[in-house]
Symmetry: C2
């Protein structure tokens, strides 16, 4: 029980945010009410607007408020490569890394029979028709390096094998700056199997 | 640059929250849009309502949406003790600790000439009239154990000395569970000076 019913409700409401518990929510509430009502007002309005209007890109299924996201809409992107990822956050990570100029497709998850997430939930029919329309030379499977991510990549590889000549999986290995001593065994096995000639 | 202009704006807006940087804001944005639009809607509406309606309690100056906060309004609280704190968060901490049943007064800061925060900004005239009205037997100075908090407590002690018979300062010492080995020297000096007879 805090100071007033409305402030208590706001502290409660902030706890929907990931990583925010009662103490953090209280700090956010008091900080905005005491020191930054303008910023809080912008946050409330922008959040309401986003929840109301953000849907999925008709082409790649990522989150966006327009019919097509900026990557699907851009004429400067390369149709010959399609990168398949699990979530919109992965697109942000790849774009921030730079170097990829192709198109995307977002699964919004991975195959998980126990959670009843099958090919339909991942939009694999849409993926198939998108691939048939774009006719990319290469599809890059950039699902996570987890058991579920691997299984999903394998399933999609099988699904697309008649339509795409080159299907690739992102490399698994030692991350940059990683010291072998502290890397887990599975990663080292992958790094050895995936070794490349440098001369 | 994220996925869409609106999502970028929302990621930006979340960064007004204390302790939230670009990565955390991105995680909050995607989490709400992907998995919890209902909770996000409640957060947006509650935040907007709070920013619109929360003001200050007319008696103790804490944040609340009614004319009087729940502590000033309650007939069950003890008028004979008034506890003076720097912020509404301090009231929450004291109430959660339990044991205090008196009234409060919130300074919203401490004396700080460099930031142009003087007696007027801290509402010390309102404090004086409140003390004269309540005529408490004791005023407890619960400002922070910082240089500014001490100075503010000293100033208020002087201000109220003709109107209140007992003016006290909260104890400074070793916190519960604290091991002497790891406590700073200033705290140990206070703990020794404030020692009490136990027989």
């Amino acid at each position: 029980m805090g100071i007033s019913p409305l402030i208590d409700r706001l502290i409660e409401a902030f706890q929907v945010l990931p990583g925010v518990g009662p103490k953090g929510a209280q700090r956010m509430t008091l900080q905005l009410l005491q020191h930054n009502r303008a910023g809080g007002g912008v946050l409330a309005a922008t959040l309401a607007e986003a929840i109301e209007t953000v849907g999925h890109c008709q082409a790649c299924r990522t989150l966006c408020e327009q019919p097509l996201c900026r990557y699907c809409e851009s004429p400067e992107r390369d149709d010959s490569q399609v990168c398949i990822v699990e979530s919109p956050a992965d697109i942000i990570a790849i774009e921030q890394a730079g170097g990829f100029r192709g198109r995307y497709f977002v699964l919004h998850g991975h195959l998980s029979p126990i959670d009843r997430i099958g090919p339909e939930e991942l939009g694999l029919e849409e993926l198939l028709s998108r691939v048939r329309k774009l006719q990319p030379a290469e599809v890059i499977l950039a699902t996570n390096a987890t058991v579920e991510g691997e299984a999903t990549a394998h399933y999609i590889g099988e699904l697309l094998k008649d339509d795409v000549s080159t299907i690739t999986r992102i490399a698994h290995g030692v991350p940059l700056g990683g010291e072998l001593e502290y890397i887990d065994g599975g990663t080292i096995v992958h790094a050895l199997q995936g070794r490349r000639s440098i001369n």
